[in-house]
Structure formats: C-alpha cells, structure tokens
Symmetry: C2
DNA sequence: TGAATAAATAAGCAATCACTTATATAATGG
DNA sequence: CCATTATATAAGTGATTGCTTATTTATTCA
C-alpha cells in the first residue's frame, strides 16, 4: 500500500456525507434514489459521491433494472478498518426502516 | 465520536506529506527543521502541516529552547488505528538515521 | 410507442486546499 | 546588544472540493 493510494482512499472517506453513505451501506445495499431520501440530498450530488467511493474501490455497483444497487466492497484490504471506523459513528436519525415505513424502500422486481 | 469530528480527523490524515510526517513521528519525536530535510519542503509548509495535525489532535508539541519538538498524541482514541494504518505504509527513503549521519539531527542541549 | 423514472454527466460556482514568498516573533550565544 | 536560528503568521495563487442546475442516457411499463 503506497502513500498515494492511501491518500486517495482516506480522502474518499473524509466527508461526513460519504461516511453516512458508508454507514448505511454497512447494513444494507441501497440505490441512489434511496440515498436522496436518507441524506436529503439531490440525485446528482449522491451520484457524484458514489462515483468517488467507487473510484477509491470502497463500494461496488450492480445494475438491477432501472436501479443501480450499491454495496460495500467487502473484499477491500481496508474493509475491516472501515467497519471499525463506522462502528464508532452514531446511527443516523433517518433509518432505512423509516424509509420502509413510508413505502419509499426500493424493491427490485 | 460524531461525524464532524471524524471528518476533520480523517481530513488531517488524508495527505501524503502529513502521512509521511506521522510515519516519521511513529518512530521519533522531531522538530520542524528536521522535517524540512526529511520531506524536502519549505519551513512554512511544514509548519502549516503541523498546525493542521495539532488542530485535529493527532500530535502534541513541546517547546525546548529554540526548537519545538513534535510527537504523536498517543492518548488519542484513534491512536491504535493510526498506528495500524501507518504500519501499512512503506518506510520513507530518507531516514532519520541518514539525517544523523549528515549531522543534521537536532540534539537539544 | 411515449411518458415516467433512475442515474450519469456537464458546466459553473463559492469554499477550501497545499503550496509560495515575505515578514514577524522568539530564543540563543558571541 | 545584535546577528543567527527556529518557528509562526500573513497574503497570494492555482488546483481541487462539494455542491448547484440543466441535460443526457437508459430502462420500464401503460
């Protein structure tokens, strides 16, 4: 692991909104439109965050119909450290469960 | 640990020069003028990096005569994780030993 | 088909970044 | 006291950041 790679990895995590995204992903795989609800953020903003996380190999994506389902990249060398970091952060106020209660959870197929 | 604090902590680490500084500090306490040699960087540049690290509580400083001796903040909650991260990074090419060999190591008193 | 939905991309913008050079502050020692 | 040394601070600069709005691409389904 060289300094340049570590720098880009850490820069990708070093944003409170992306940490929130990763915190959510540590529990469920989610799509962009769900994040716009969870983070109260515009669709392009979320999309750009996901691209940064993907470039840094923190997440993986899977096309499913209209949706792109995003997941944590559990194969990454630093995945255990990431999980540890995320465990230190509080649960977000808006939960995926509350999304479900509002009928806004995406169910593919 | 809230998201804002974690963000500022990670942002402070997310720079290859500051990671190098922390890597050096994981072995020795050092002063600004030694870092200018080790990193081949101007004195104000090093000074500004140290201020960022200090603001994020990653390092501590101790005035000793003309010099300010900088050390890792071993009391920080995230210190063990920091040490782990640093252990994944390669040893810098310019070592403190090579500084000593050139007679550029600062010896207070 | 064609309207609706999900996501990506592009361009623009204010704020922040890591540096630079110049200068100020502070301590040492002749 | 004064020159030297170590560090901090200030102001300026080009690059990058995280957003915005507008538009494009792609998929579903009536």
């Amino acid at each position: 692991m060289d300094y340049v790679y570590m720098e880009s990895y850490l820069k990708a995590i070093s944003d409170h909104n992306r940490m929130l995204i990763l915190k959510y992903l540590s529990k469920d795989s989610l799509c962009i439109c769900e994040f716009t609800e969870l983070l109260d953020m515009t669709q392009p903003a979320v999309s750009q965050h996901m691209r940064k996380l993907k470039t840094a190999e923190l997440v993986t994506e899977e096309k499913r119909g209209r949706w792109t389902i995003w997941s944590l990249n559990v194969r990454h060398t630093l995945y255990p450290m990431l999980i540890h970091l995320l465990s230190l952060l509080p649960e977000p106020e808006i939960t995926v469960e509350s999304l479900e209660a509002e009928g806004k959870r995406v169910v593919c197929e």
